[in-house]
Symmetry: C2
């Protein structure tokens, strides 16, 4: 079992330390690092290598400077494979709805107990999302448009993190050379990832890779603007 790397983003140091202690006590989980703001988070992320990137980011909504909403948008765009779990005091349908549409995979209230938190984090690592009973309640009441919600990923383990990154860009029509430049890799490296992706997914070509990605919720077509406009 791989260690689940979690990052805590909150402007209050006491909150960060508290969550760090709690999460560290969960077996197979570790707090990779902490950040006190969105900007701080991005700066630290940028300095990390691929295998230092967290699997899950616990993101506080109310922060100085770049707040949770802005940060979420940025993460969804630039780190699509990192799961973003929201941590907030506020719990209204409007804000939950917004965050879920911004690709958040979970929404925890700040007074969540450690059992619930552990369960949630494990579910996120396992299948990509986790909804608390309270969020489900909102969905049932129709207060949340869960059509935009992050979908469960069927087989989270088949592909490695780098492979998922590459797959995401393939689905966005980038070609090998461009992907290599974006990650600052050699073309041959990206070609290797591509080949391994095809072997693992039993795809014959790019079309197969895209179908796989969409079928397994590794890529959301709505990220692309390929939907014909209504006249």
């Amino acid at each position: 079992m791989k260690t689940i790397r979690v990052v805590i983003v909150d402007d209050q140091e006491l909150v960060r330390k508290g969550f760090k202690l709690i999460i560290s006590s969960f077996s197979g989980m570790a707090v990779a690092f902490e950040a006190e703001s969105g900007g701080d988070l991005l700066q630290q992320l940028k300095a990390k290598t691929i295998r230092q990137l967290p699997h899950i980011i616990l993101l506080d909504l109310s922060m100085e400077g770049m707040d949770g909403v802005e940060t979420s948008k940025f993460l969804a765009k630039n780190y699509p494979n990192i799961h973003v779990a929201i941590l907030s005091m506020h719990f209204t349908p409007a804000i939950v709805n917004l965050m879920i549409s911004l690709n958040a995979c979970a929404y925890f209230k700040k007074n969540t107990n450690s059992t619930e938190l552990e369960k949630g984090l494990r579910k996120i690592a396992e299948k990509g999302n986790y909804f608390t009973e309270e969020v489900y309640e909102m969905i049932r009441k129709g207060n949340i448009n869960h059509s935009n919600a992050k979908k469960e990923v069927i087989n989270e383990d088949l592909l490695t993190e780098r492979e998922r990154q590459v797959l995401d860009l393939i689905c966005q029509e980038y070609e090998t050379k461009e992907i290599a430049e974006m990650f600052d890799l050699g073309i041959r490296t990206v070609e290797s990832h591509r080949r391994n992706l095809m072997v693992k997914t039993k795809a014959r070509n790019m079309a197969g890779l895209v179908i796989y990605a969409i079928s397994n919720n590794l890529f959301n077509p709505s990220k692309s603007n390929k939907i014909s406009k209504l006249i």
Copy 2:
């Protein structure tokens, strides 16, 4: 406006003639041909060129030999771009559900009046599906799993029929040469279709075409078996 070509499949000649008269009276619609059974239909379809193929097949469920269910399966697999509308006396959730999961785009009761039929046929030609108030009622009551239902196509007119056929096969990972063989065309012809598809959809490569097809419900990923099995 293109003429909407409809085909009627029913084992009773009187029913066929009746529907033929009714449909012929709708402006911009014509009955391309009739068939008295599933086998008969397939035989006649095989003899048609691409531009003689019907847009919509009105399919009776209760027939001798190859029945409506079998025929639907075959059509979904071999003529994915022809809209199949079911025509039946039976109207139970079970059977409606089955047919919708088999890619039927509409379900008419046999005593449907001509106004409703005309409206339905036009909607099908325009956006790919049509649900009567009764079917909606079933969906509302939860008797129908409409997640498998044929989705609305946003822009039905952008692509030609041949282009849609080619696009479908591209999404199934066939390469140009194979597609050419399947339709008995030259490779350069398929390359032309491919090129036109890319221009029309503003795609850079196959990945873009697949994303377009899925985003606009021209291809259903579930047709592919790329969903990772749960362990």
